[in-house]
Point group: D2
Chain length 489, copies 4
Amino acid sequence: MNKKNSNMEEDKLHEECGVFGVYNHPDAAALTALGLHALQHRGQEAAGIVTFDGERFLSEKHLGLVSDHFSRPSVIKRLEGNNSVGHNRYSTTGGTVHRNIQPLFADLWGGGFAIAHNGNLTNALSLRYDLVKNGSIFQSTSDTETILQLVAKSKADRTIKRLVDALIQIEGAYSLVILTNKKLIGARDPFGIRPLVLGKLDGAYILCSETCALDIISAEFIREINPGEVVIITEEGIESINPFTKTQSRPDLFEYIYFSRPDSVLDGKSVYDCRKSFGKVLAKEFPINADIVVPVPDSGVPAALGFSEESKIPFELAIIRNHYVGRTFIQPTQSSRHSKVKMKHNPNRSSVEGKKIILIDDSIVRGTTSVKIVQLMRDAGAKEVHLRIACPPIMFPDFYGIDTPETEQLLAANHNLDDMCNFIGADSLGFLSLDGLYKAMGYPKGRDNQNPQFTDHCFTGDYPTDLKDYNDKNLQEQLSLLSDNEAST
Amino acid sequence: MNKKNSNMEEDKLHEECGVFGVYNHPDAAALTALGLHALQHRGQEAAGIVTFDGERFLSEKHLGLVSDHFSRPSVIKRLEGNNSVGHNRYSTTGGTVHRNIQPLFADLWGGGFAIAHNGNLTNALSLRYDLVKNGSIFQSTSDTETILQLVAKSKADRTIKRLVDALIQIEGAYSLVILTNKKLIGARDPFGIRPLVLGKLDGAYILCSETCALDIISAEFIREINPGEVVIITEEGIESINPFTKTQSRPDLFEYIYFSRPDSVLDGKSVYDCRKSFGKVLAKEFPINADIVVPVPDSGVPAALGFSEESKIPFELAIIRNHYVGRTFIQPTQSSRHSKVKMKHNPNRSSVEGKKIILIDDSIVRGTTSVKIVQLMRDAGAKEVHLRIACPPIMFPDFYGIDTPETEQLLAANHNLDDMCNFIGADSLGFLSLDGLYKAMGYPKGRDNQNPQFTDHCFTGDYPTDLKDYNDKNLQEQLSLLSDNEAST
Amino acid sequence: MNKKNSNMEEDKLHEECGVFGVYNHPDAAALTALGLHALQHRGQEAAGIVTFDGERFLSEKHLGLVSDHFSRPSVIKRLEGNNSVGHNRYSTTGGTVHRNIQPLFADLWGGGFAIAHNGNLTNALSLRYDLVKNGSIFQSTSDTETILQLVAKSKADRTIKRLVDALIQIEGAYSLVILTNKKLIGARDPFGIRPLVLGKLDGAYILCSETCALDIISAEFIREINPGEVVIITEEGIESINPFTKTQSRPDLFEYIYFSRPDSVLDGKSVYDCRKSFGKVLAKEFPINADIVVPVPDSGVPAALGFSEESKIPFELAIIRNHYVGRTFIQPTQSSRHSKVKMKHNPNRSSVEGKKIILIDDSIVRGTTSVKIVQLMRDAGAKEVHLRIACPPIMFPDFYGIDTPETEQLLAANHNLDDMCNFIGADSLGFLSLDGLYKAMGYPKGRDNQNPQFTDHCFTGDYPTDLKDYNDKNLQEQLSLLSDNEAST
Amino acid sequence: MNKKNSNMEEDKLHEECGVFGVYNHPDAAALTALGLHALQHRGQEAAGIVTFDGERFLSEKHLGLVSDHFSRPSVIKRLEGNNSVGHNRYSTTGGTVHRNIQPLFADLWGGGFAIAHNGNLTNALSLRYDLVKNGSIFQSTSDTETILQLVAKSKADRTIKRLVDALIQIEGAYSLVILTNKKLIGARDPFGIRPLVLGKLDGAYILCSETCALDIISAEFIREINPGEVVIITEEGIESINPFTKTQSRPDLFEYIYFSRPDSVLDGKSVYDCRKSFGKVLAKEFPINADIVVPVPDSGVPAALGFSEESKIPFELAIIRNHYVGRTFIQPTQSSRHSKVKMKHNPNRSSVEGKKIILIDDSIVRGTTSVKIVQLMRDAGAKEVHLRIACPPIMFPDFYGIDTPETEQLLAANHNLDDMCNFIGADSLGFLSLDGLYKAMGYPKGRDNQNPQFTDHCFTGDYPTDLKDYNDKNLQEQLSLLSDNEAST
């Protein structure tokens, strides 16, 4: 789901959403809660679960972490039924509207329909415009509801046909898990931009964003849902259709670079191994003589281990991360030296003092965090600080479910390498090359520019779909005018 | 709005909802909060206010009393704008779904549309059935949303025309206050079943259910909205249309008997004076020799004063009401004599002991409370207890926004006068006659059976509209299957 | 318990606290909750219950009304045991400190000791000063804790002896209910300033502030606890001691005038009947020709009925009270005519218009409410407004548990009758005389100035005890410096 | 502070409490909040801050993490003043009593006194017994209050003398930070069992448990508070006394092994470096041929890096930790294979499969977690799993503020090495030797058995103080009988 966030508290890309579904397991809600907990890194703002107990759909949606609410027995108990669909939502900094928390639900003509969506549509506003004109009333400002309204409007006679009617109208990134009174349905956009996998536990089918969510419930991994595939799980078993014309799939490289958990396996590749490879290739591309290799924790750790292995320079955990993070604290007014970076990262001075350091981070967005961490190293006595980034420069915004700042705020979109190095205050700076990235992913010839193996639009501007909403400036206006405080009860 | 409630905690009829709107006053939200507070007796479950600040609509909806939330400066401050619409919702005993709290809001093609409804439609489910079949997605289980969806679907080009398109399709009772980005609209059903009045304050127009809501803000009473009238208030002033074929108006007698506040004036008649008149006529119809006239407080007080005045038997406040009521307490398990009636009513023994008592109550629904109060009087030493009821026997359920039990549970629907008197344990029992009621209302000839001046269906079964939803048994099923806990955050 | 409150939201005297105890009943906590609910008028800020289950003491204390928390089954369930003590605390307008909520509890050498106190001590600060100097640590700022600390310090070997050690040191007003692991103890100060009664239910003893709390649980009234009496209830039964030298008892007249519920019986006298008598005597003392007698509801109703009976002028409920009161609403800024009095009182215009009115109120404190209510009558069209007050002028502050403003703010302390009448804007004004009050209470000769039958210090300045804390200006400082927000979790 | 917890959710030792104080800084409360946040690992149940604004003490205490409440501007704003003391409390699994949250505060004869305590007394119950007998009323069940009551009882004339009176009576571990209206006081027990350091920021003094709390506010580290030292900070500056007879200091080794943050420096030693040294010595003491060294994250990481460096076997982050932990989830009932360990740890299968693994953990308590993690490695395809523990076997419970299970539940107290290895299911098992531990700490000759440099009672049973409360079985009873729900408002 949607919307640029230009006030990100932290200078990182943010994923938007994780999905999870269970069909025919007596512990459906409890399994979904565990699965969403394992997918917590994909969205921390809110979580929701809808179950079907054979007669009624039951729904719980709550702001906060999965464990804040869905660990309570009373909540799980209310979510009766053997079929379930759940969703994690990413935290935007502005107020959140309760009605945007997924799964969205509607009573359609054929019965209840609950939908959870990871990704972002690029023509949702255009479609919404027409729907409202024809009398549809939207419950939310979410692009996901556009799918729901299109299904409601379809004149087809069967649920799957009505869903396909909707899917062929939408563009962009989507991995969907849908629960009806008869079926659990999974769908992935034709490019397979966001991940979706199939698993099995005690004979029950599971659909979820990443394999780590299968691991937490000890479910068996079956296979990835293919790009463009719609899987329909019923009492009769599983069946599969692909309503789209065949295209080259283009999963998003950022799942490997930053978003997916290192213990997940995407398309047969261990995320942890990919990241170590990024570090190894980076060490070859930008070697430097130094005393220690230091990761920016936690996301820089695998690449730093790879860099250390390749360069033979010792790995040192010289920045300690405080994992009790959360809200922003009031900063003391008097002492301007206190920066927010210390809330999260503290140098281990005895490891740093007097050393030449290679600092490894996964990516640079605006560069503001890099400035602070380099300074942190210098304040702790580092003699030299060489920054190495385990992906290419980010020069274009994302429209497929990653929360990126506007182009003007992307450091690499507006500066060359030297300027960036100066801005950050490092002694040297190196980014993994685009071809280096593809090589580390197992393509010895690098990127296939005719048919790129992945979508890498943030580095290249090569977007897999039309950007209809973005290009039609009239549509940028939000249709819904209501700012409501219904959830503040 | 809707739904039978057969588990009423208290053996009373319950009104469902009060409405309030302001156009063009800088204190719109604060005035609306005060107005809803004055209308609190019409609904205690939840309250909501939607304002329009010239650009955006702002909404606050909360479970509980108006004063629980809308007395907070922070809440009123958030509700910016000079135009406002508010709603009080009646408390059903079962769990309440947050999304049913009014005003309901939707982004229609022409802009935002907020609606507050007092009354109940009798063909809402039939209409909903068709709408869902054609792709409408309902946000709530409320009959009010049917109006909203009909407006959304209208192909007319102006808001008022679209509203009229909707109004001519609906049947039942409705007093509506609607806020758009340009207008405040009031509408009352062709029979004028529920009240709606117009007032003015500092040049701003006010629409509300009762005059007591004008009094609390020191607004001037202008006039009643006529049955079937739609008033449109804009910057240009006020205009009025009546899209219906002319019918005899039939306001609901129960507003005079029980629901409206005694200090309100309905259709030129003081509610307090009407109730005193009921007592006077009752004293003439069922005179009895006794020592004191005792009201069941608070609703029986005016009729008791009238009865006392007519009969010359002294009025005595011999039952004290505890106004700190609310939730049901745990009853001690051991002592079966403790009844819930004592939570609310306690006899003033020194006034009762050894006396012949005439007990005055406003109405009898199931009779369970009457049994207890008569027993209370006897336990306090009353020698005789004669019960007089200031309205006729209730024999039919309501479908226009009053929460009545099913016919099987209405005492008068299933017993004759003697049986009722025995059941209640009174020494004698008398009900105000139907003609007596009309006479007390100022019609010396009583009820005009050709063209009844009021709707009195609970006494006569003479319903002013078709009962389409009630008669079509298939429609009794609730379409929405979702039981959700969104509001429990 | 304690403390002047000079910012009372409402211009009324306020009672501080109600107490309730049960010995040896399986429903102890549920009965206590009901009893406190019946005593809600004595204190609305907070309520607490402590039970003893044979081994442990269990405590629940909550801000808000009794029904807000103690109607919940989960709360009552946690309060196991057959013995119980409870307390209602009066609402001061400033923030409340959680640790001041009663019953206070301490683990003394002999075991647990829970105490609930109605009244106020006049030498608590002096005693506290010495206790702190000798190493006592106070948990609260409550005068009640002084009693607890004195018991803790006593070197006597038995609980009752230790309590008596404490009682003979304290001065002022106190009706205490105390729970230990063996006993339920009731104690009333030598003057009997605050009430305390004994009842029985299913063989179990009950101690409580008023008989209305016995009525709600259908308990039998046994007798008043005598001034200066200490009753000790154990498994062996009930025994009684009086450790004080005999004095003339002087219960507080204000219990009859305003505080006690009209359905309670104090010292053999019906409170309702007393108030009617006040009205009758007042009608004799200050007769006036008029059309109707109108009470300021609810407290003025009985006196108005008496006035009407005596004067033969018809009683009319011409001011309607909105019982949904509570928090203060934001007042609209523009229209200055809107006054807070309308939140609570609205005139019934049809009864008032063109009439000469006798308005009956129970008392005048600062007079600000009287000004508004007289104006309300005039705005509603009253031709004349004659104000009659059913007690003498209040000229002195209270120190025994009634929250009165400082002398400078008491209207009658600073103005003569004419000035008062002008200030209030009435056509005439009359107060019940002091002798009239005593006569209405059943003393044909009026007040016995040698040995006054009651304490009437607010009218006369004749305080029954020394005012040690008040007179020692150094003690006015609050020892406890901590302003804490422990309860805001 | 106190109390065994035998139901620890997680099989780890738990620290109890962190302390922080500021003297004379305009941002005192904001700095304290940040400092407590940096010390969050020392206690997660509750946090409290007391400030002094020159006149009044202000207090905020809340259940939950520091960031849950103390990041709110409204909370920090209420905590006015330049002097502040704060406390983090460790989370026991049973219900928590609000009044036990520190800092504890009392109004003593000389003025307010707020105390925060890290550690646990071994004679608190004995002292409490006498105090209660002599009339002291305890507010809490905390051993810390015993100190407060002893200070209150002292007849000395100055605060410091009264504090010293108390300190010479208490035994056990304590690092105290105390705030009065004039002073900030720090005190450390004669053995220096728990840490306490002094820092400076903008001229203001800071006292806190660890240097990482100085780092977060960019304060300068001055020095450790010495064992037995009492530092008194006033407007005149800092002064220091040592009221105890000189003893050999014995800080607790567990601060280095597990509790302190790796980026803290204790007594001149980097905690991170110490842990790496433990790994190096361990690699020498228990070498084994393997493919990779894998830490149990996060606490095992530094020792694993040391082990890898010493053994030249590659370090691999083959277990991924989910940092979104917190509450316990409902476990699915059907599939017994799902264990809680997966909530927190997931293997990185591609790194593990087919490998011989050396698993490094910081310690073993009951061994239950080790069983699961070894199994996790086997399930992920490990060929061999060799477990190495970076401290000696834990054979004795702690009484100085670490939450350890009873002796019967300590794995090493009841089994020899082979049994343990079998129980855990590892291919081999090795513990760092006691002498190895001392060597790694920088004592080449190992432990000085005459005058041990540290307290290592959990390995040796050599407790530095008498265990008076533990040995006197009569005292095990808790004096306070009250189970209260005051905080549940």
